[in-house]
């Protein structure tokens, strides 16, 4: 196969274009891109922008699979453009399209706003009573490594939206929160530092909860970070059922407190920065 001969090979990038100011609907446009071995799709897009069509639009930032900006459909499957090699996916034609299940803003730019709204709606942050301690921490909260493992996998989520594009339930159901927000909801549901279990359960028992998921598993199959949202959603259902039967211990859990006095540092260690000032004028809390 000529794919690994070390020389450039020309690939057709068949890119889905849409300019809201002049196009009534999206269309495909072909670009010929010379691809050396190891070249990622994002580099190909940059080649097009610099040499063939400066108007091509997409979203990207870190170029190393961390920021989650460059999620797009590559040959019909959701991937991050920055860590997907052209020659791994295509023989001669690479289909590049924006993530489905999101409205298209322009070319390959999806509108991720509704996903982030759903994410925010599930209160995906630590909620505690000791607001002053959270704002001006005097020490770390005490959490066992075993408790950390219960949510750490889901904390690797980079909000790229690939799971939302692959979810068949979300394709037909607007009200379903989707894999990313629900996985993040579970991440806080089982975090021992959180103190809002009862409120979260009440919220998740409704329409935005996990019950519309029937385990197609596509979210986990496409996740570029191994987050496994399908697992989080099923474990969330388990917590909800066990809590309904009053078999869950989490309902009676007190949020993890500060380290016991004997384990705390005698003085604040040098080099630990003070929290920054609020950037919003008049703000007094994290809420």
């Amino acid at each position: 196969m000529s794919n690994d001969n070390g020389k450039d090979q020309n690939f057709i990038f068949r890119v889905r274009r849409f300019d809201p100011e002049k196009d009534p609907k999206p269309y495909y446009q072909d670009f010929t891109v010379p691809c050396p071995p190891g070249m990622v799709v994002l580099d190909g897009l940059w080649y097009i922008k610099e040499n063939l069509d400066p108007s091509l639009s997409w979203r990207s930032s870190c170029r190393m699979g961390v920021c989650g900006s460059c999620g797009m459909m590559l040959n019909g499957k959701p991937h991050l453009a920055c860590h997907t090699q052209v020659r791994e996916l295509a023989k001669d034609i690479l289909l590049v399209a924006p993530l489905p299940n999101f409205d298209i803003v322009r070319d390959l730019v999806p509108d991720l706003g509704p996903m982030m709204d759903k994410h925010r709606a599930l209160n995906t942050r630590t909620i505690r009573d000791d607001g002053e301690e959270m704002l001006k921490p005097t020490d770390q909260y005490w959490q066992d490594p075993e408790d950390l493992v219960k949510y750490l996998q889901f904390a690797y989520c980079i909000k790229c939206g690939c799971c939302m594009a692959a979810c068949p339930t979300l394709a037909t159901d607007e009200r379903y929160s989707g894999p990313m927000p629900l996985a993040q909801g579970y991440r806080y549901l089982v975090d021992t530092r959180d103190g809002a279990f009862k409120d979260r359960v009440k919220q998740l028992s409704g329409e935005q909860g996990p019950w519309r998921c029937h385990y197609a598993g596509e979210c986990s199959a496409v996740c570029p970070k191994g987050v496994d949202p399908a697992r989080a959603i099923q474990l969330m259902k388990r917590q909800l059922v066990f809590d309904y039967l009053r078999l869950s211990k989490l309902r009676y859990r007190k949020p993890a407190g500060l380290l016991p006095q004997e384990k705390r540092a005698k003085e604040r260690r040098e080099g630990i920065a003070e929290p920054p000032e609020f950037t919003v004028e008049g703000a007094t809390s994290l809420q």
Binding site: F18, P20, E21, K25, P26, M73, G76, K77, P78, P98, L99, P100, N101, F102, D103, I104, V105, P110, D111, V149, K150, Y151, L152, Q153, F154, Y156, A165, A166, C167, P168, L170, A171, T172, H214, Y215, A216, G217, E218, C219, S220, A221, V222, C223, K225, G226, V227, D228, A230, R231, A232, Q234, L235, K237, R238, V241
Partner: protein, 146 residues
């Protein structure tokens, strides 16, 4: 500020089949929904047919006579097959939803293995059982029963 025009890109029903990596579980997901709808349709027809007895015995007999054909026998078998699949796959889904077949959360190490890998052996067993039930049912429907 001018309003930003967005082009709707929801996959709709196509999304039941496309958009992901097309794993086996996606097809089971779609088949589970389709068989569920099929069983619901049969249930509605069943109520309609049975309720004709409340009007008169003659209407009941003529309605039943209408359904006494090879086409509806095959249809009845399809309902049986749909029920067998839906029930056994539903058992798998029930166990997954209670967290018994997903495994606990674990540190993601590349190449990633997800909960799909954990439940897959059970999925294969359930699908073999479903296929066996459907085959035995077919033998009873079309050979032994007639």
């Amino acid at each position: 500020m001018p309003e930003i025009i967005r082009y709707p890109n929801k996959l709709g029903l196509i999304g039941w089949l496309g958009g992901g990596k097309w794993g086996v579980e996606r097809y089971l997901y779609t088949l589970h929904r389709v068989t569920g709808l099929g069983i619901l349709l049969y249930f509605l027809m069943h109520i309609f047919v049975t309720s004709s007895r409340a009007i008169s015995e003659e209407l009941w007999r003529s309605t039943m006579g209408f359904f006494d054909s090879t086409v509806f026998l095959i249809g009845e078998y399809l309902v049986f097959a749909a029920f067998a699949f839906h029930a056994l796959n539903g058992l798998r889904l029930g166990l997954i939803e209670l967290g018994f077949l997903t495994g606990p959360a674990e540190e993601p190490v590349y190449p990633y293995k997800s909960s799909l890998n954990v439940q897959r052996p059970f999925m294969i067993v359930m699908m073999i059982v479903a296929a066996a039930v459907i085959i035995v049912g077919g033998w009873d429907f079309f050979i032994a029963g007639h």
